[in-house]
Amino acid sequence: MAGLELLSDQGYRVDGRRAGELRKIQARMGVFAQADGSAYIEQGNTKALAVVYGPHEMRGSRSRALPDRALVNCQYSMATFSTGERKRRPHGDRKACEMGLQLRQTFEAAILTQLYPRSQIDIYVQVLQADGGNYAACVNAATLAVLDAGIPMRDFVCACSAGFVDGTALADLSHVEEAAGGPQLALALLPASGQLALLEMDARLHEDHLQQGTALSPFRDGSFEARKHRWAPHRGRSTLTVAVLIRAVFEICMTFQFKKYKKVYRDLLKRCQPLACHLTHYYV
């Protein structure tokens, strides 16, 4: 038996998307009345729910309070029914802890925490259905929830994942593509300034693919280059497909219809001519 062909010769992926295309995105804000902010997002079959409480006084041990800024407390969980196989997932398992930590890092970079010293902001996210790109969906849901709660941010955070198959970067991986085991990269961005909130990859990838990515990067001459080194200290831990990813992230921004970014996005497109973006019809 031949394995799954992730990218056909005609350039279509398993589910019919092209390499740079995203899945269908739908989002809703304010799904819960009792929370300060809440949001629900669907990226294809990946569905996530985010709830935000705060800023409020420190709960639990007061000693954790920070004198100069608010503490961002993130908790990540997956529903028992979120994957194909039903599985009980206790709170505080390793994967959830790590994901919580990553979310925290991301949002500490985005929320203006110094406005609320000695207080706490809780962000709870739950994945209802996992079909690849869980981190990205959670970040996007949480951003919307934080917006819904009215907590001031530098910029909203937007995230997407990407993978790499046979020399081509694939945006927004589905579960099938993730399971195939190629290198995978997650990126969270503050789109207005082009600053990175989080960039993560857990596989080896050759430096050349990084260069291929950054050569097309819209930030070649700007802030991004400097950050590349900070975020990618090792040869292999880097951004294969930065351009594709960034474009993907901006497309997600577009679907949220924040008009202010339209111009940024247009400029960006002009600069990535080689990859001329093929906008699809499937968005809301």
Partner: protein, 959 residues
């Protein structure tokens, strides 16, 4: 538009999973026809011609595109590959099915798609909004796919109507061999034909019909025909059986010498790679060489021993099985219990590994018959029945035939004619055949590949000298065989001021010209090695590089990769240095010339002193290597003197070895070892190395037995012990004995292989007694060396790395290909030598020669003629002659014919003639002259008189 595909799947643990996958339907997928106004150019890649004019068909005079279904693609790929067939629409559904069912066909189809002149277009119908169909309730996957194909065909036809108002618009013709599917299609208004109907309707190209695969046979053949073979067990049951252990899975290997016998290598996870013996037609059950099969072990009472009988399939067209049974019985002779080995029978085929086979037609006796038997050149492949109308023109030609199937009521598999190569015996045809049979890529280099060659005239530029040392002042020279044009190594040696010696090995810097990833690189990687045939060389890299820019010829500036040692006079390495360099060789010598310079007392120039220094060091190095346990093996090698006009061999000569041969070899070994250490140090995970595994002790049995018969005691537990044992073979009255032992020892060895250091942990090279080894010194003719050059260049900072170089899985795949190519190149070389030996003896007539017995078989002896390095078999049994009394002793081994006993290494005299009674396998036949055995050996005197009529006289001792 978004659709969800939902299906249930059973997990390994037995649970049931519900899997939901997204499935996007698009409206931007084009129909592929160039200039189609409807699809606004939303297509990519090679498109269909907007007005397909050829081929002319009497069934459909309109211009048309073809839309084949899966089975047509799988079985009639030969037809589709014909240049006449163009403008074909391949549906994604069809391609996916092909992909799952046959990897080789899928690969061929992809090649077709990428061929722009063929105008094959892949239509992604599963993601097209109008051609996607959902599986209905109660409909199985196959039916759904058939429906999907029909829907797409219908959409295409309607689409074509839309884009032109012309009455005579192009049609899309659905080609299927499934009658029901065809009927349904016609009901739905789709023009549909079977493949046969369509091909037969091509008025301009009647020759295509021969290439149709005959599949229909099975159904409408006379039902009453006797079933010869047991039914194959279906795949699902096989898998169950393999899991539960009732069946074993393995690779089927037919015996070259006996068509009724085969072995199956059971590939298990554990080390015990077991071998199972299969005997008899029914037990072989239609398996063909290299197929992956499932076998069932027979009860112990039915186990058999490998027979030493040589049997050839020469039955005529008929299907008489009784004959076969009789032959099978001859296999089962009384053998002692120890010899019995696990035996089994094939219950089913897991994967066929059929490829097109070269061979010849054996014309049917019936004149008008269209069915003929085809005899493949490879004796392990059964004969194939084909149907052709051009039998008389194909007779005496080498042709290619593909197998289509093997029904259970047919003695032979059915196949179809693919291609005619040329007349048999013709030197070019024969070369072509042996290249094809050994899968050696030998087409001329494509334009894409040649475009990456440097522009002429070429000079070393400033840019080239970056990271490169200028060594042009050194007195470098090369030593190679005569008429060598691809010189990849050169040497120098000079005394340093501190009294030490500086020795340099300079290797052509091929990786400077072949940059990773481009077409030139890919082509070289595919070829893997240069193949040297007797009169021809199949280059790995284009000639401009191999014989000019990379060849380190004398008195021109060339780029090199140098390995430079500082040594003391005891040949101990004090310092090792690698650098890219530019050199200017002062002389290209042959081995003989170099030897002359070293020996001559009068010459004292720089080159000669350099050579003497090298020679001195080489001797010390060699001594040291042998002391460490390196083996000196021997194999008879011959070189042909070829007539410059006719290219016929006029004389042959065994290769001579001089001191200078071993001098060059010694430094190459040293360079390889040094480089291996360096790259492994730098890239512990992805260095490309070469290892030579120690052979299992059982391999040495023949050698030990042979030694015992000569009253010698051989120790084979280590390379060192073996080397010592071989050294003690000295017999004043039999000087050739030592060589014979070394030849025999060579046969016991394992194959040396390339591997990736991250994928293995045994690096030892047994033959060279080196803990680590690689190939660095011949990048012009071996691709492995190019990779090693790149690794070394990165290690010393002279070049940059690239993704595939540091990917150990890619490297392991590459090693696999290189190992395969090397093996095939070796076989091709041997086949070429064999062919030229035949030509030589054809011209020479009958020759009487001295020979030594190498092996003793049950009904024959294998002899070696030292003068020609030629090996042959002397048979003692003939079909229509009274059988001589043969007593075979397995233990010794010895064979007693009448009253004469033959032992290994006995000296005999044989008569050599060319047997051309079988056109396909012309062979050298040997018959016994001395010792004389009445009725067996041929009389000595009559031979020389009958030079002009060798055919008749010679055939005394056919098997």
């Amino acid at each position: 538009m978004l659709k969800s595909r939902t299906f249930l799947k059973k997990t390994r643990a037995g649970g049931v999973l519900k899997i939901v996958r997204e499935h996007y339907l698009r409206d931007d997928i084009g129909c592929g026809a160039s200039g189609c106004s409807e699809c606004c150019g939303a297509q990519e890649g090679p498109a269909l011609e907007s007005w397909p004019c050829d081929p002319e068909s009497s069934l459909c005079p309109q211009p048309h595109y073809l839309l084949p279904d899966t089975n047509v693609l799988l079985h009639q790929i030969d037809i589709l590959e014909d240049p006449v067939i163009r403008n074909v629409i391949l549906l994604q559904t069809v391609l996916q099915e092909v992909r799952n069912r046959s990897a080789p066909v899928y690969k061929r189809i992809r090649d077709l798609i990428s061929d722009l002149t063929k105008h094959f277009y892949t239509f992604t119908n599963e993601h097209h909004r109008e051609t996607y169909v959902e599986q209905k309730q109660g409909e199985n996957a196959n039916d759904r796919n058939d429906r999907a194909i029909r829907v797409a065909a219908k959409w295409y036809n309607e689409h074509m109507k839309k884009i032109t108002t012309d009455e005579n618009h192009p049609q899309v013709i659905f080609i299927t061999n499934d009658i029901k599917n065809k009927e349904k299609a016609i009901e739905e208004g789709i023009p549909a034909y079977t493949c046969e109907e369509y091909i037969k309707s091509l008025t301009a190209n009647p020759e295509l019909v021969d290439r149709l695969a005959c599949l229909s046979d099975e159904g409408n053949e006379i039902e009453s025909r006797k079933v010869i073979f047991p039914e194959h067990v279906p795949l699902s049951k096989l898998q169950q059986g393999i899991k539960s252990g009732t069946y074993l899975q393995g690779t089927f290997r037919a015996s070259r010498e006996n068509y009724l016998e085969a072995t199956v290598w059971v590939h298990g996870d554990d080390e015990e790679n077991r071998e199972i013996i299969l005997q008899g037609l029914r037990n072989l059950n239609r398996a063909v060489h290299e197929d992956i099969v499932a076998v069932e072990l027979l009860p112990k009472s039915q186990w058999v021993a490998p027979s030493s009988v040589v049997l050839q399939d020469d039955g005529q067209n008929g299907d008489d099985v009784e004959d076969e049974e009789e032959k099978e019985n001859t296999l089962k002779t009384a053998i002692n219990e120890k010899m019995l080995r696990p035996s089994g029978r094939v219950v089913g085929i897991i994967k066929r590994n059929w490829r097109p086979f070269c061979g010849m037609l054996s014309k049917s006796d019936i004149k008008e018959s269209r069915r003929h038997l085809f005899t493949p050149a490879d004796k392990r492949i059964p004969r194939i029945r084909i149907e052709t109308r051009q039998a008389s023109t194909l007779e005496g030609q080498r042709i290619i035939v593909a197998i289509d199937g093997w029904p259970k009521n047919s003695r032979y598999p059915n196949g179809h004619f693919v291609k005619n190569l040329g007349a048999v015996g013709d030197k070019e045809t024969e070369t072509e055949v042996l290249l094809l049979e050994h899968d050696v890529p030998h087409q001329p280099f494509s334009q894409a590949v040649l475009s990456f060659l440097p522009k002429m005239p070429w000079n070393i530029t400033e840019e080239d000298m970056k990271n490169r040392e200028d060594l042009r002042h050194l007195c470098v020279c090369s030593v190679d065989p005569p008429k060598c044009t691809d010189i990849d190594d050169a040497l120098h040696c000079r005394e340093l001021e501190n009294g030490n010696l500086e020795v340099g090995v300079h290797i052509a810097d091929v990786s400077h010209f072949i940059r990773p990833g481009n077409a030139l690189d890919q082509e070289s990687a595919k070829r893997g090695t240069t193949v040297y045939l007797c009169e021809k060389r199949i280059d790995m890299v284009p000639e401009l590089l191999s014989s000019n820019l990379c060849s380190l010829r004398s008195n021109v500036d060339r780029l090199a990769f140098s390995c430079i040692w500082e040594m003391n006079h005891n040949a101990e390495i004090l310092k090792t240095r690698f650098t890219k360099s530019a050199i200017n060789s002062k002389a290209s010598l042959t081995y003989a010339e170099a030897q002359m310079r070293i020996d001559s007392a009068t010459m004292n120039d720089d080159i000669t002193t350099s050579l003497r220094g090298l020679n001195k060091l080489a001797k010390i190095l060699k001594r040291r290597r042998i002391d460490a346990g390196a083996l000196i093996l021997s194999s008879p090698e011959v070189r042909f003197h070829v007539d410059s006009e006719t290219h016929d061999p006029i004389d042959l000569q065994t290769k001579e070895l001089r001191e200078t041969n071993s001098m060059v070899e010694e430094f190459m070994l040293l360079a390889n070892v040094s480089v291996a250490k360096k790259i492994h140090e730098e890239f512990s995970e992805n260095a490309l190395l070469r290892k030579h595994p120690a052979p299992p002790p059982s391999n040495y049995e023949v050698l030990v037995k042979a030694a015992k018969s000569k009253n010698l005691d051989f120790k084979t537990d280590s390379a060192k012990a073996l080397a010592d044992s071989l050294d003690q073979v000295e017999s004043p009255d039999f000087p050739y004995l030592s060589t014979l032992f070394r030849i025999l020892a060579t046969r016991c060895m394992m194959q040396a292989v390339y591997f990736c250091s991250g994928m293995d942990n045994d690096f030892h090279h047994y033959g060279l007694a080196s803990p680590i080894y690689t190939h660095f010194t011949s990048p012009i003719r071996r691709y492995a060396d190019i990779i090693v050059h790149r690794l070394l260049a990165v290690a010393i900072g002279a070049d940059s790395t690239y993704p595939d170089l540091t990917n150990k899985h890619k490297l392991a795949d590459l090693c696999k290909n290189l190992n395969f190519r090397h093996k095939m190149a070796q076989y091709a070389q041997r086949a070429s030598v064999a062919f030229h030996t035949q030509l030589f003896f054809k011209n020479k007539g009958i020759v009487n020669e001295e020979a030594y017995i190498l092996f003793v078989r049950k009904n024959a002896i294998v002899v070696l003629i030292p003068k020609y390095g030629l090996e042959g078999t002397v048979f003692f049994e003939e079909k229509d002659k009274p059988k001589p009394r043969l007593t075979y002793d397995e233990e010794m081994p010895s064979l007693k014919v009448e009253d004469t006993e033959f032992h290994i290494f006995d000296k005999v005299r044989v008569k050599i003639t060319l047997d051309s009674s079988n056109l396909q396998h012309q062979k050298i036949r040997m018959s016994l002259l001395e010792p004389q055995i009445p009725g067996i050996s041929v009389p000595t005197d009559s031979t020389s008189l009958n030079n002009d009529e060798p055919e008749k006289k010679r055939s005394k001792l056919e098997n």
